[in-house]
Each structure stands twice: as C-alpha cells, then as structure tokens.
C-alpha cells in the first residue's frame, strides 16, 4: 500500500516566491528567512517522497467568484503556473499524478467528502511558493504533485474540524492505494496576517505559537477553533491555517516534530515552516 511519510506546514507568501525568482535570497531582508528554510529542504531531499499532496488555496487564478469550490482536487497530468495579474512565475510546470489523484477522488467522495473534480487548472503562488521553499529552483519539480485546493478567500471557508477530518480521510485513501508510493502532505498558508483594511499588518506570534504547539500535540483541540477566533486572533487572512489541519489529519494521532521555524516578517506575514513525521 501507499503510505504517508511526513507532513509539512508552510506559509505561501508571494514575496518569498519573488525573492527566489529574482535571485534576492541573499539580501539582508531575506537571508535570515532563507537560512531557516535549509533544514526543511534537507529533510525533504532525504525523505524523497514519490508524491506530494499540496493543500493550498487559489487566489483568484484558476477560480473566480463565478464558481468557488470548497474543496477541489487536481486530476490532470500537469498544471501550469498561473498568471495572477503580473505574469506567471518562472517555475516548472507541475506534473500531476492522475492515477493516485483519481483514487483519492473515488475514495474521498465515497467516504462522504464531496470534492470538486478538476481536470484542467493553472496553479498560483499558493501551491508553487511552498514547492520553491522546499525544493529551491530545479529544472523540474522532483516529484509529482496532487493539488488540493481549499476555498479560504470567500467567507466562510470550511471549518478547521472539517479540514482535519478530510485529512484523516486522505490517510485512509492513501493507505488503500495499491501502489508503493511514499507520500508527503503539505498544508500551506498562514500564519497570522491581515492584508486588508485599517488593521492590515496584524501579527499575533502568541496565537501562532499556541497553534503550532497544539497542532503537534493535540490536533483535535486545534481543529475545534471556530472561524471567529481566527478572524480576531490571527487576522482576516490567518484563517488560511485551517489548511494545515488537512495535513495534520493525514498523519497519525502521534507525530514527531522534526523541524519548526518561524519568521517575522516575510512581507506582511508571520511565516511558519513545520516538518512532522509519524511518531
């Protein structure tokens, strides 16, 4: 059977992608952040997953307000980088894994998670920045990727608990796949940040620290955090953290924290990077 070999939580700040794309990672603003990335890069290079499932949100790229799927699973052979309004990022086309993706689709929907099936879509910084953080600038991404897109742009997003349960269902689906693939799940977005209105620039390091501690040790309690607390305590865009709960749910009840790094600021965001393995 296929199996989960780890989980990664990773913010998906567009400015981080721009810093990599424009060769600015050594600049004084960026060097301290990118130094913190190195241990996570070493971990994923050593782990060498066969497939990554990347849980991310689209930012008005593949989906607009015309149709907003709460959960959408990418089934295609490949996913091109999106033009988000300023040209696509100069990163490799993302290769999919349609066979495992279709297995996930069948398993998850019959497990009562009603995903939207997507056969064609571009992927924006929400998915490609975490790949750049973890893999740098290769000519091709080192493994196939299955995009799992979660709506967090149009309120309300799915609850943290729903995301956690979806992660648990992903685990069941992966473990029922007849292949031998070793799978890493990335939960992306967050941590605390607010991009809009007069409270823009909001950062809450205490909330994020409690979130990370709880995500490792007591994920059911973190899954119970209601939206109003994210909005008040993590900033209006901090609610993206529900996507980390998909990743955590896909791992077993007990995990080992391999690596944690946080950094303020990357652009407007308290940046988080977390690597977990099965205990």
């Amino acid at each position: 059977m296929a199996r989960l070999v780890g989980g990664v939580g990773c913010s998906h700040v567009p400015a981080v992608g721009a810093a990599i794309d424009k060769g600015r990672t050594e600049e004084p603003y960026w060097a301290p952040y990118f130094a913190k990335v190195e241990p996570a890069r070493r971990w994923i290079a050593e782990t060498a997953p066969d497939v990554c499932i990347v849980v991310y949100n689209d930012h008005a790229s593949a989906f607009s307000l015309e149709v907003i799927p709460t959960f959408a699973l990418g089934l295609a052979d490949e996913f091109p980088p999106a033009d988000e309004g300023y040209g696509p990022r100069p990163v490799p086309v993302v290769q999919g894994h349609p066979e495992l993706a279709w297995h996930l689709a069948e398993s998850l929907v019959l497990d009562e998670f009603d995903l939207t099936y997507v056969n064609e879509m571009p992927v924006d910084h929400g998915l490609t920045v975490p790949l750049s953080v973890m893999f740098g600038q290769p000519d091709a991404w080192p493994c196939p990727v299955i995009p799992l897109c979660v709506n967090v742009v149009q309120y309300p997003p799915p609850t943290g608990r729903r995301c956690y349960h979806l992660g648990q269902a992903i685990r069941r689906a992966v473990e029922s796949y007849p292949g031998a693939e070793r799978v890493v799940v990335l939960g992306t977005g967050g941590m605390s940040h607010q991009l809009q209105a007069e409270r823009a620039g909001f950062i809450n390091v205490d909330f994020d620290t409690r979130f990370l501690d709880g995500l490792v040790e007591d994920p059911a309690a973190i899954a119970a955090i209601p939206h109003i607390r994210y909005l008040r305590e993590a900033g209006s865009e901090g609610i993206e953290l529900v996507m980390w709960l998909v990743m955590r749910g896909a791992l077993g009840p007990r995990v080992r924290e391999v690596y944690r790094a946080t950094h303020v600021p990357t652009s407007n965001t308290h940046n988080g990077l977390l690597v977990l393995e099965e205990a």
């Binding site: 309004g85 007069e198 823009a200 809450n204």
Partner: protein
C-alpha cells in the same frame, strides 16, 4: 444568514462574506479580467472605455479610477482581486496593504520589520 455577524465588531477588518460578494460581483469580475495580459494592455490604454465593459456602479467606478484602495474593499472588492489592479500599477502587496491603513509605505514597512501590528494595538486610524 442575515443581520449582523459576530465578526462585524473586529476593528479595521472587512470580512469578504456573501454581503460583500453580492455587492462586489461586477467589480471583482473586472479585477479578475486583469489576469489576462491583453486585458491589462486594453485597460492601461483607456481605463474608462475598458471599464464600460463591466456593470460597475458609480462608487465602484470612481474607486477604481481614483485608486482608492480601502474604498474598493468597502464597495465589495476582495483584496486578492484588488491586488491585480495594484500589480497593474506596479505595487507590491505590502504597498497595497499599507495603503489601507493610511500609513506611509515607509512607516508600514517599518512596522512590519519591527514585528507587525501587535494584537493589542488598534488599527492605524479610528475603528470600523
């Protein structure tokens, strides 16, 4: 769901819920169109003529033409959509976020470098 929401009292915060989405639908359609380079070129060439393609109300149209970034959110714009207009003007997301607060770009950048807006601090000016 109708009536006040439990998040309406969060200072300086506009949650993009169904109320905003309904008001902002044509505005966000316009903003979404800027994902295509040929549309960005057409908009830059003649902003008013390009906006005629979308059924914006007068307040939305004025907010676009005047680059009134906070106002764009108040009339139904979603910040990820309004960023497409800001990017068209060469702004970074930090430039856009800072514009909402009334702070200068330098002051906003400095606030972020010193750890961001503290949870106990209010928004930059007044309360929503």
């Amino acid at each position: 769901m109708s009536g006040p929401r439990e998040y309406d009292d969060i200072p300086g915060t506009i949650v993009f819920d169904g109320r905003r989405a309904r008001r902002g639908y044509p505005l966000n359609k316009f903003l979404m169109s800027l994902n295509r380079p040929e549309n960005r070129d057409a908009f830059r060439a003649d902003e008013r003529a390009y906006l005629d393609r979308f059924p914006l109300d007068a307040e939305q149209r004025a907010a676009v033409l005047g680059r009134r970034w906070l106002r764009l959110l108040e009339v139904g714009g979603n910040v990820y959509y309004t960023y497409k207009l800001a990017a068209c003007d060469g702004m970074t997301f930090q430039d856009l976020a800072g514009e909402h607060t009334g702070m200068s770009p330098e002051d906003f950048a400095e606030m972020m470098l010193s750890g961001g807006r503290h949870p106990d601090a209010g928004p930059a000016e007044g309360e929503r």
